[in-house]
Point group: D3
Chain length 163, copies 6
Amino acid sequence: MAGAGKTPELTHFRDGLPRMVDVSGKASTLRTATAEGWVRLPPEARAALEAGTNPKGDPLTVARLAGLAGSKRTADLVLLCHPIPVTGADVQVTLEEEGVHVVATVRTTAPTGVEMEALTAVTVASLNVYDMLKAASKAIEVTGIRLLAKTGGKSGDYRAPGV
Amino acid sequence: MAGAGKTPELTHFRDGLPRMVDVSGKASTLRTATAEGWVRLPPEARAALEAGTNPKGDPLTVARLAGLAGSKRTADLVLLCHPIPVTGADVQVTLEEEGVHVVATVRTTAPTGVEMEALTAVTVASLNVYDMLKAASKAIEVTGIRLLAKTGGKSGDYRAPGV
Amino acid sequence: MAGAGKTPELTHFRDGLPRMVDVSGKASTLRTATAEGWVRLPPEARAALEAGTNPKGDPLTVARLAGLAGSKRTADLVLLCHPIPVTGADVQVTLEEEGVHVVATVRTTAPTGVEMEALTAVTVASLNVYDMLKAASKAIEVTGIRLLAKTGGKSGDYRAPGV
Amino acid sequence: MAGAGKTPELTHFRDGLPRMVDVSGKASTLRTATAEGWVRLPPEARAALEAGTNPKGDPLTVARLAGLAGSKRTADLVLLCHPIPVTGADVQVTLEEEGVHVVATVRTTAPTGVEMEALTAVTVASLNVYDMLKAASKAIEVTGIRLLAKTGGKSGDYRAPGV
Amino acid sequence: MAGAGKTPELTHFRDGLPRMVDVSGKASTLRTATAEGWVRLPPEARAALEAGTNPKGDPLTVARLAGLAGSKRTADLVLLCHPIPVTGADVQVTLEEEGVHVVATVRTTAPTGVEMEALTAVTVASLNVYDMLKAASKAIEVTGIRLLAKTGGKSGDYRAPGV
Amino acid sequence: MAGAGKTPELTHFRDGLPRMVDVSGKASTLRTATAEGWVRLPPEARAALEAGTNPKGDPLTVARLAGLAGSKRTADLVLLCHPIPVTGADVQVTLEEEGVHVVATVRTTAPTGVEMEALTAVTVASLNVYDMLKAASKAIEVTGIRLLAKTGGKSGDYRAPGV
């Protein structure tokens, strides 16, 4: 199913890698990150969502809560990610013309950023939308997962082009 | 950042939902699912990957293992998903022209399918590619996460169009 | 705060205990369990719930989903409990005259029962109701957690008196 | 089993809820919380506990350790709870005239309180008492789970009436 | 601290590895595994254990329960391990002349064995003995972790030499 | 398999134990810990490792990542351990004359040390080496797990004899 994969030579990597980057010396400061993603719905899945007759319940509510809970599991899933004490999280899951839109904002006071926590929240919320609607269609697609903005940290603030 | 979200009336849903669908009466049979996804790399991220000088280690190896481990966390992340005893998993993470390609196949003998396990493996692997390369670029995008094929179960086999 | 606790002599216990009971020889059969519990709400907490103005969101929806997810964490919490592949779960959280009523039914096909899974779902749902409303009152009480009914297994069916 | 549940209109809730409350701006200060609960034992369960012949081992010891471990799982179970670095925990499980009494005290230095951690410790300990004795009786009941006292935080100290 | 490490050429490995071995086609049969390990105690640690005055509590009881609970976390820790529904577990932790002896037996009915579950139980129990006594000595050593015996599965029964 | 175990009288322990030691009053300071362990390989296991033909993949790479991930699970496994926000981790897994050598260094800024996190990383990495090679030999042994050095904290720095 894949083309002829070109895997870079692992021996290029420095001895002793991979490792969890040392952030012991960095100050704990306020950091935020916002990420988004889309769940593209074929017509049958969209109809099931709009009709409100989905046999497992409301996909948007489940996804919102799953995304909030998922942000707390980031360090379990991302192998080299530091465990971060999330101090606030907000996940919006709305039905738009183009599909289900997921936007997550995560906040912390920590020595490292929360981009991965926001992206994990978006991803987990999207997987839950998929799970809730997969009986209606097998052609659902999760797409466009990206960082919209971040603040705090030595690399400074960031805003995605056009945001 | 979102448009005017249109949330369907929750009151449409039947009383007592959401719930975890009852599969107690279904037979445990062999089931497989294959899913894919893409991590789009801006030039700096691609250069860091190809140069093999990434300060955290090799993204493809980390992603492959994280995806395998992630498939076992599906029921923790997808709130209404049944816990499934995965009996085999295979995650390929390769560098292609269009970006990093993730393909995951999961197998089980269970009363319900493993689509969510395959999709979770792809998603978690993709998040790990992102994490490994995020120091090189903040414009990485995870996209095209979809089911390629499934076998087993009463809904029969499925193959995505063109696969 | 406690009275004079009377702890039984530990040395009465047989050598080698505690242990996880061996159920290897038991057949995997259909088993169900239903449990209930109550969250007693002081007037301010009840008012916050009924007004729908709770700053964290709707307690009943959150509790229902948390209970469903919680049933899958039973073996993590109950140290000597066997891990069980839950095949169905249903958690109802309703506001009644006497408080918030939680009723959970869990199903499995396994060599041992799911009483603890149903009780864990009730308990976790109740803790989430508490958490959602604790800003309104510190005098909320979780109470009356008990098994209502079970079916399957060699100990036979059970129905609580008056149920 | 339940009466005619009266669920408040979800549409009362503000857009975008539920969410994890933002405590980023709050100072990390010393906070403690003490909670209690009771496990009511029918005569056969009490006899099994007092005789020390329970086939799975000593319920009080298992419950005490499970409660301590459970306090660390709070953010996994309570969907909108912040992850908190618990800095001390103490769980007492004693046999009293009225049943098994569980009292848990949890401490932290954090921007938010540990009421939920203390209540989770009590609840998990109680579930473990239940599990250890359920072979002796199916009519065990967990009851009276409430906050006894808390210190620290902007909402000030609290002590339950009569404590 | 290490000598000149000799890492084998990763490129020797077949494309697409690592992977979780496919056991979908294997029958679910009864399997058991017994493993052991030792915790060597310097005199101060042994004295603290024998005096029963350890400030955190009894190391042997805590270790026994932690080992039982740990056997259920195997698939979380061992990345390519299949999740197994453990149907029985027994962990003995005793003080001997040579140190603390940990022996764990795990049983399942599954398509693959439980050697890793028994070894994980031993390892986790040993880490808990260490943690309970580390205030008394920093020179505790965990050693001699090995498989004593296994039964079931196509590779047949095994018994360590001299056991 | 065990000799006549001599379990110390539990009644020696002070009332209310075990407990998670209160470190609320201790300052958060930089702390590091380094631990090591060995996996002894019988000839067939060593040959499989050196030939690079192991059917599950490369044991050293898997072990390194599993150890890094494992360090984040310490508080889940060690019942009375405080949850610690690890700020850096480094796990080396190399093939030496005497076997596979695992060395883990963990860093944090916290009120308590990370000895258990470093030891858990070593242990989990070792279990993964075992799992990857267990098809080649059932006589693999994990041994010599000990603390090499620690810095920070009121008990001062430590270096194992001869390190």
